[in-house]
């Protein structure tokens, strides 16, 4: 790559079930302004905008970036729209990083949002289309059988998912922007209703309104702030929803995505060289599954890390310091929130949920039927 790329501004809205107080332009504007302020910049400084959001049917505006261009000060600038299902927030940040690294633009604003309260995601995900099998399972119904497979394959402790739910909600209590602030005990989580056996209510993510933005710049501009987060590696990988011999519990695309990003960042031993990770965990059981998929644990061993408390904020390998998707889930923005939290950690600006001395962090997103993956590695060192 031609240029180094640094994150020098990060902003997000307060996430809530419904931000009825903000229009869609107001929502994206709120996150973008916070990122610009953090970067000590104004709209005029921005060369280019990269925006991501989940299916347009969630808000009923086709290619909403066209309409939102005024709110984003985009007139006379390039604005680019990415859509890769649930991983979109991550892959949007990857495109923004590539614009800087490739020398195409020097100062890029990237943003992701979702205003789920404008519609009903369950409707938008499952219109009754002729010839398509009816959705009989609901959102969790697709993933519950995979989790059952994981538990069987790894002989995992049945409380693992509950442990993650407790830990992520405790972390979320430290994050004023998080949607859910829940002080739950293990017993309370275990007693919550079983929705999609083996997934309990307290082991699922919420549905949120929210937006997040970052300012990415080349070397020349990184000195505007004293603590840039340097992008050391990016990667995206995709596999098909169904194919013969597909391992849906530990998908090859996720493994390769991790291999690519560690390779680019020069990481050979993730557990030693990475200080913390913010990973897309929409159902709590995905923490142990992704610990294995991303190379933090051997196959079948991920649940032990969780049960031993290693992924807690004060553990050896903190995961989802912000509370993660389990506390905040504006779908199109969820991936970028993970990437942004990784950058906040290495900038030392994560406030109450800061991991002491974090220097290298991973951000991760996935989408579709565990088939679209995006990751980045950020570091306090160039």
């Amino acid at each position: 790559m031609a240029e180094h790329c640094a994150v020098i501004g990060i902003g997000q809205t307060k996430h809530r079930e419904s931000r009825r107080d903000l229009s869609m332009p107001g929502l994206v504007r709120d996150a973008a302004l916070r990122a610009l302020q953090d970067a000590d910049m104004t709209w005029k400084d921005i060369d280019s905008i990269v925006i991501g959001t989940a299916p347009d049917m969630f808000e009923g505006v086709m290619m909403p970036e066209l309409w939102l261009s005024d709110a984003l000060g985009a007139a006379g600038k390039p604005i680019f729209r990415v859509h890769t299902a649930g991983s979109v927030g991550g892959s949007t940040a990857v495109v923004a990083a590539h614009l800087v690294q490739g020398g195409v633009h020097e100062k890029v604003l990237t943003l992701a949002f979702e205003k789920q309260s404008e519609a009903n995601a369950m409707w938008a995900l499952s219109p009754a289309i002729p010839f398509q099998p009816q959705l009989v399972a609901g959102a969790g119904g697709y993933f519950a059988p995979l989790i059952r497979s994981y538990i069987r394959r790894s002989d995992a402790h049945p409380d693992t998912g509950c442990m993650v739910a407790v830990k992520d909600r405790q972390n979320g209590l430290l994050n004023p922007n998080a949607h859910l602030h829940l002080d739950l005990t293990l017993e309370q989580v275990k007693a919550s209703p079983m929705l999609w056996d083996p997934i309990r209510f307290s082991e699922t993510c919420p549905s949120s309104d929210g937006a997040v933005a970052m300012v990415l710049v080349s070397d020349k501009h990184a000195g505007r702030v004293k603590n840039p987060a340097w992008v050391k590696g990016t990667s995206v990988r995709t596999e098909r929803t169904f194919f013969a011999g597909r391992d849906q519990v530990n998908p090859a695309a996720g493994k390769l995505c991790a291999k690519d990003v560690y390779g680019e960042a020069g990481i050979t031993n993730p557990t030693k060289e990475i200080d913390c990770a913010e990973v897309y965990v929409p159902f709590s059981w995905f923490e142990p599954m992704w610990l294995e998929n991303l190379g933090f644990a051997d196959e079948g061993e991920g649940w032990k890390m969780t049960m031993e408390g290693k992924t807690a904020l004060d553990g050896e390998m903190p995961w989802n310091m912000s509370g993660g998707v389990m506390c905040t889930n504006p779908i199109g923005a969820s991936g970028m929130l993970r990437f942004a939290e990784a950058a906040r950690q290495v900038r030392g600006t994560a406030e109450q949920h800061q991991v002491d001395g974090a220097k290298v962090a991973v951000g991760h997103a996935y989408g579709g039927g565990s088939q679209f993956f995006a990751m980045w590695v950020v570091s306090s060192e160039r």
Partner: protein, 302 residues
């Protein structure tokens, strides 16, 4: 027999729009037949008011009352209105600069005849009889001389493509049809365009059994919007004998506590005279009573 299937499909939904302070105030005032513009930082007046002007600057939030009249800046005559148009008789679309403003509003002009339309013509606003705080509270213009419903209704005609059609035709005859690339030999149910391992078209159709192994499953205990069944019910992945990919269906005819990974199951078909081109020809899968498949035999499908 392989005539492509086709069916009407309507995408329809009413969104709940959060309008924010500027748009919300404007639309709410329309209910009371009050037309206002918003001032920009550089002193211009915009109607319809925007939160952010074309330079990306926030507007001031200072509103000014406007006369309900204006000037046509551009127009288009529609002789035969489309279904979603504001009139079912001939009318004009127009960009209308409301008096005292610096931008233009898109709206309809009820002019009766195309001949009455002219750029520069003066128009007055006609209010709708019933108002609900939307832009349609302005019924239209005529020659003078914070929630907003955003309904979407689009009529499509969709078809499932060649391979899926073959699959559905098979179901109509009580058969499961899969597709395979002869080179790779893996059988995809339903057939898809290409084998992902080779990229070759899955050009051969093969019939697979309606019996297979339940590889994994969930018990659904949550009610949700659009749900057709009453929870709890079981939904599982089934690898049919002869297939290399799972299909998903309901599992029934057995107490939930007895459902196991590896259980052998068989399709429970509807009566033959009710068969259509649909997976719904199968009510559910039920146990065959055969011994369970060993874990190793299906673990690659998990």
């Amino acid at each position: 027999m392989n005539e492509i299937l086709s069916a009407p499909y309507v995408l329809e939904y009413t969104y709940t729009r959060s309008t924010g302070p500027v748009v919300g105030r404007f639309l709410e005032n329309l209910r009371y037949e009050v037309l206002e513009g918003v001032k920009t930082a550089d002193g211009r007046v915009l109607c319809p008011p925007l939160e952010y002007d074309e330079e990306g600057e926030p507007t001031t939030g200072e509103f000014v009352p406007l006369r309900p009249s204006g000037t046509v800046k551009s127009w288009s005559w529609v002789q035969e209105p489309r279904k979603g148009h504001p009139f079912d008789r001939p009318f004009a679309w127009a960009l209308i600069q409301i008096d005292g403003t610096d931008n233009a509003m898109v709206h309809a002009v009820d002019a009766g005849k195309a001949k009455r339309m002219k750029t520069g013509m003066r128009v007055r606003l006609r209010w709708a009889d019933e108002k609900n705080g939307t832009i349609r509270d302005i019924a239209c213009f005529e020659p003078i001389a914070p929630f907003l419903p955003g309904p979407v209704h689009l009529e499509y005609d969709v078809n499932p493509g060649k391979h899926y059609t073959a699959y559905l035709r098979g179901l109509q005859e009580g058969k499961f049809i899969g597709g395979r690339d002869p080179e790779a030999g893996k059988v995809y149910v339903p057939p898809r365009g290409a084998d992902p391992m080779t990229g070759n078209p899955t050009s051969e159709y093969v019939e697979v059994a309606d019996v297979g192994v339940l590889t994994t499953f969930t018990i659904i205990r949550i009610p949700f919007e659009g749900q057709k069944l009453t929870p709890p019910y079981c939904f599982g992945a089934i690898v049919l004998d002869g297939a290399d990919t799972p299909i998903y269906h309901l599992i029934s005819g057995v107490p939930h506590d007895d459902i196991r990974m590896g259980m052998r199951v068989k399709a429970k078909w509807k009566p033959q005279d009710e068969w259509e081109t649909s997976l719904e020809n199968i009510l559910y899968f039920e146990p065959t009573g055969e011994p369970d498949a060993p874990f190793d035999s299906y673990k690659e499908h998990l």
